[in-house]
Structure formats: structure tokens, C-alpha cells
Symmetry: C2
Subunit: 360 residues, 2 copies
DNA sequence: GAGCGTAGTGATAGCGCTATCAAAATTCAA
DNA sequence: TTGAATTTTGATAGCGCTATCACTACGCTC
């Protein structure tokens, strides 16, 4: 008289209480299959006849079914937690990184855990890597952490999937989501050249990050393609910090024949270059053009706003989560580790820091 | 005869598989009570004898038990999701806000959902508020959204708990976590005065944010207390943007007798002031001291690094989550809405942008 | 055509927790 | 001391999902 509770309730009671989502049982019933089959379809498991899969998928769509994250991770006993580890918490694109990762995680019903590794020696990094490998199923590594051999190898050894985000190089043993730094730098250089600049200075990024080298190479390549020789005295070493940009720009602009444009390897250094130019009484972009890279908040904070290369960090973070989840599932199914290199499109954002060089 | 399967496994098998956490059953068994009692204790439910509660809590601590988020939310059928809604995604403290909120959320095993409300009219804001109220159990509102009557009243009407973070004013109908802007501005002003400054300029914040007024009042109060009259021509209106800071500072420094110190209502404007000073050939802090407010990344990006007021945004975000969770639980138990105003300590961070005024 | 493997599917039994209500222990009144 | 009122505790039954294994077809070898 009283029970057969769940199915009865769910199918009969069409007015579900606010927020109560449609369950796998409802989908199963509607499609005329067992919940297990629905589960298999939803999880992309093999061994479901094409016709059945089709039917279930249609039903899922009709009912707008979304698997319940809690139930799923409870049943699967796979606390699919993903760690996002970063250093340098004030890094300008951290917030975008977080937004993207959080978004991807919540869509995929995964818990995202954050970890900050600051001021660590190689040894402590190793230890930390080993520790984190115990408690999560995957790791997202933004730069500069993804450049650390120690961290990467430890993580790889522990067998947990890793995605390096925005790392310049495609690393052999870990997957990555990145833009084409080389091509982007090329485009930016071409952009400058198209305005008529030829005395273009370049401020390099931190030497321990592979993206730095790629950006520089892109610059060189575009200059060469345009038949413009690169004046080595117009190339300064920077370290991605505002401070280092200040020093580099100072040297550049103190010359008796300063460049007509400065291409800084990131926005912080470009902002610093703008500041130095102003200090020397130069107008940007009238007297000198300045461009950056990354499109971090500082690019739109300073005046004039910087022409720069936009990396879609949020989208990259979200897609890292996807990548990771796929690897995790694959790993669980005992399949071999697959390393992918996902290159996403960048955008050259034109703002107000570029103009044609002054005649003469 | 037949069952007791789980208990047997858990107690006998001391080698838990990697990552498998201690369960409520283990705690219960160890403490010699039922799982239900442990659950009650952990959830702060009343109706547990003091002695029992004590015993369970000790056991929990011994075993280092953490409730399984998935199981909990599954069983409680309470998709305790909390929304963090922001506008202006490039706002400098967004990343810290996210870090804090995410941290608090993951500790409390709550899902955090993000939402961006940009370029919205009052009407669309209302609609969005009504919509979000359907899908989450609580909302965190950073400025400037928490100043919107439309949003707040809609949310309050929907009966869902709201916490305003870093809002200057203590609003009558929603809870808040904030610093004492008035007191902080006072302290900063006193700091400047203690260096011997008296011609202190002030750049006000955006007029639609209550924190702006409080900061200005704090400044006035400290000046009055020191017996220094505030020169009204040394007070400029700003809008929290770098650009507005540029204009304000320009006016201030173009005077034939410029101030010896500038107190900007946030870091962006302070950074702009530094830039203007440099442009005019002035050294900071030798020729002019500049201070900001908020301690956002830009404060440590520019050179010299800014003396500013640090708001512990991350901690504030985390504690907002706590507050919210408590409200949600209270609400579920049918208790009356309680509005709290949580004021956290700020810190005056002394860096390199302040010095004694030049003699004469 | 018996024997055996191999998709494809479903029944069953939990994952770790909490809602619910019944049972036990306690308190209090008479 | 007894009975009722109350507090404290426990047993049971799921929350929505998936792991596991059993079972049904169907095709294959010999």
C-alpha cells in the first residue's frame, strides 16, 4: 500500500518541487530502458547499441537531464577533485584563470581545489607534488609552475594527469592548452611594421619561461620577413615585472636615437614603458608606440590603453578541465596515457597605444 | 547472521585505499554511538547530550574526520549552491575574492557558482536577481552590485540570504562583511600627518559607492583632529578609475603650490597619481608622497610600491560563505532572518611611496 | 548443432550521509 | 513510586548515481 515510492513519486508527480532536477530514472522510464543504460550513454561508455544510444540521447535532451554531481561522485567513489596550483597570487591573469576553471569545474560537476606554492625550493616542490598527487585526480598548472621539471616529473610519476596552461612550449610528457606565442608575436610585429615602424625595440620576458623565447623568435621572424634588421641594442632583457620593464625602457629611451615603437613581452612591462615615456615627456602613441602581450587588466588600466595580444585564459582554463576529466576517465578505464597539445586562437587587440611613427 | 557488511569492512580493514576518507561510521563505531548521533554533532544540531557531543567531537578530531560533501548534499537533497555575482570582471581584487570564496566553499563542501552581470539596466538586474534566486540558496554581492537597491530588494523579497562584501555602508536588510573604511582612512591620514604632511590632497572615489563617502569622512575627521584645515581645492572628485586619477592628479599637481601628499581613494587612482608626478619630473616619494587604498595588485606593480590599506578580501570572502551557510541553515529550520554586520580588521601597509615632505 | 565467446542489457547492491520516526532514557509531577 | 512529558538516541530507508555481475541474444568454430 505504501511503497514503490521513488518511481511512483517521480513519474506520477509531474510537479517537481522547486529546483529538484530530473533524475536518471525518469529518463530511463521515458526511454524504456534501464537506468544503467542511461548511465552508460551519458558517460560515453562503449557497449551500447547505436540505436539505443540515439534514443537515450534524444530523451536526455528532451527532458533536459543533467546528472547530479553529488550522486555521481558518491557512487563512483571517485572524488574527482582537480587542483589548480599557482604561485605568485597577484599575477594579473589569476582571476581570469579562476573564473574559467571554476566555470569548467561547475559545468562538469567537479570540485576544484586551489593551492598556492610560494617561496618553495625544488625539494619542497617535489614533496608538495607528491602530497597533492594523493588527494586529487588531476592538476592544472599555469606558468611558471608548469616549467618546473621537478613538479611535472613528480606528478607524472604519480600517474596523475596534468595539464599545463599557457605554457609556451609543448612539453613531451604532459598535456597543454596554450596559444601560439610565436605566431602571436609575429602578428604583433607585423602590425607595428604595417604602421611604418622599423626601429622597433623588444623587451624580452623572463628567461626561465619558454613563452619568452617563442615571443622573441616570433618578433625576429616577422622582422626578418619584412627585411628589417634587428638592432641588438634595441633588444633588452626583462623579467615580466613592471620594475624590469622600467629599467629596460629607461635604457631604450635614453638613447640619442630612441626606437619609434616598443614591443614588450607582457603588459606589465609595456605599462612600465609607457610610464617611462611619459616621464621623459614623450606622448604615447604620438612620439612612441608601445604594445604588450596577454591583455591583463593593467592593459586597460593605464592610459593610453594598450594594444596587446589577448589570450583567452578563461576559456583555456575551462578547456583544461575538460581535458583533465577526459584523461582521468581514460586512466580509470586503464587506457594508456594520451598527451594532447591544444592550441587555441589568440586575438590582436588594437587599442590606443599604437600610431604611425613621427615623420622624419 | 548475514549483514553488518560495511562496518566489518571498515573497522577491520585499517589500510584504507588511497584517498578514501574516514567515514561517519568509523567515527560512530569508535565513539560507541550511532552514525546519526555523529551527524547531529557535526551539524551542530541541538538535542545531543553535552557529554555525548564532547565525546564525538573528540573522536572526530582524533580520526581527523571530514564529512563527505557529495554524500551530504545528496542525502540532504540541499543543493547548497552559493552564487557570487560580480560586474566589471577586471576589477583588481576579483582574483582575491575568488580565491577566498572558493576556499571557503570547498571547506564547507558547497558549490560556488559565478555570474557576471555587466551592462545591465535596473530592469534586467531585477529579472536576473529573480532568476538567480530560483537556483541558488544564497548570494554574495561585492561592490558595486551590493549598492543596488533593485538587486538587494529583489533578493531579499525572494527570501534568500545575501551577504554584501566590502560594502561601505551597513545596509539595514542584508548582512555584510567589510572593513571600517572610515577608521582606515583616518589611520592613513594620521600616518601622512605623522610624517609632517599638512598640504594633503584627497582624490575621492565614485560617488555612487558608499565606501567613497566613508573614506572621505575618515580623511576629514583625521585632519580636523590634527587641527589642519582641509583646503577644498585640494579635494578632487575621482571615479575609482586610473583615468579619473590621472585627471585629478593633473589638476592637483598643476597648481603653483602643489600638495606634498596625495591620498587617493583606491590604488588605481594612486598609481595614476604616481604616473602624473613622474610625468612632471617629480620623484615619489621625495617630492611628493602618494597613498592608495585596497592593496590591489597594482599597488605592488608600480614603482615605487604604494603605501595603502589592505582589505583582507580573501578572508572576507571566505567568511561570507560561512555567514551565508549559517543563514541558509537557519532559514531551513524556519528561524527568523538575522542580519549581521561583520567588520574585519584592515592593515595599513607601509611601502615606499611615503616620505617626509621636502623642507620648506 | 553443441560449445563457446562476445556484445548488449538489466538487477542488485551499495557510495556516505541525513530525514524521519520509533525506541529508549531521562526528567518531572503527583 | 508511578505515569506522563520530554529529551536523547538509534534503526530504517532512501538521496541519484554507478560497479559489478548475471543474463540474454547472437555469432562463431569445429
Amino acid at each position: 500500500m505504501q511503497n514503490a515510492p521513488r518511481k511512483a513519486r517521480n513519474s506520477a508527480n509531474s510537479t517537481r518541487r522547486k529546483g529538484a532536477a530530473v533524475t536518471i530514472h525518469e529518463v530511463a522510464q521515458r526511454a524504456g530502458v534501464s537506468p544503467m543504460t542511461v548511465s552508460r550513454v551519458v558517460n560515453g561508455n562503449a557497449n551500447v547499441r547505436a540505436a539505443t544510444r540515439e534514443l537515450v540521447m534524444r530523451t536526455v535532451r528532451e527532458l533536459n537531464y543533467t546528472p547530479n554531481a553529488a550522486a555521481r561522485s558518491l557512487a563512483a567513489a571517485s572524488g574527482t577533485r582537480i587542483a589548480l596550483i599557482y604561485t605568485n597570487p597577484s599575477s594579473a591573469y589569476l582571476s581570469e584563470l579562476l573564473v574559467g576553471a571554476l566555470d569548467g569545474a561547475s559545468k562538469a560537476a567537479t570540485q576544484l581545489v586551489l593551492d598556492t606554492w610560494d617561496h618553495m625550493t625544488r625539494a619542497t616542490e617535489r614533496a608538495a607534488a607528491r602530497k597533492i598527487a594523493q588527494s586529487v585526480a588531476g592538476v592544472i598548472l599555469p606558468p611558471p609552475l608548469c616549467e618546473s621539471k621537478a613538479v611535472c616529473s613528480e606528478l607524472v610519476a604519480a600517474g596523475i594527469p596534468v595539464v599545463a596552461i599557457a605554457s609556451g612550449r609543448f612539453q613531451p610528457d604532459i598535456s597543454g592548452v596554450r596559444i601560439d606565442d610565436f605566431r602571436a608575436a609575429q602578428e604583433m610585429t607585423e602590425h607595428l611594421i604595417s604602421f611604418g615602424h622599423s626601429r622597433i625595440a623588444f623587451i624580452k620576458g623572463h628567461p626561465n619561461q619558454t613563452a619568452s623565447a617563442l615571443r622573441y623568435e616570433g618578433f625576429q621572424s616577422a622582422m626578418a620577413a619584412a627585411g628589417i634588421p634587428v638592432d641588438p641594442t634595441l633588444v633588452q632583457q626583462g623579467f615580466f615585472t613592471y620594475r624590469s620593464g622600467l629599467e629596460a625602457a629607461e635604457k631604450l629611451l635614453a638613447r640619442k636615437k630612441p626606437p619609434t615603437a616598443i614591443f614588450a613581452s607582457n603588459d606589465d612591462m609595456a605599462a612600465a614603458a609607457v610610464s617611462v615615456a611619459h616621464r621623459r615627456g614623450m606622448d604615447v602613441p604620438r612620439d612612441i608606440s608601445v604594445v604588450g602581450f596577454d591583455d591583463t587588466p593593467i592593459a586597460t588600466t593605464v592610459w593610453p590603453e594598450l594594444t596587446t595580444i589577448r589570450q583567452p585564459i578563461a576559456a583555456m582554463a575551462a578547456s583544461s578541465i575538460d581535458l583533465l576529466l577526459r584523461s582521468i576517465r581514460r586512466r580509470k578505464d586503464g587506457e594508456a596515457r594520451v598527451v594532447v597539445d591544444h592550441v587555441v586562437a589568440h586575438v590582436l587587440v588594437k587599442r590606443d597605444s599604437v600610431a604611425a611613427p613621427a615623420p622624419g
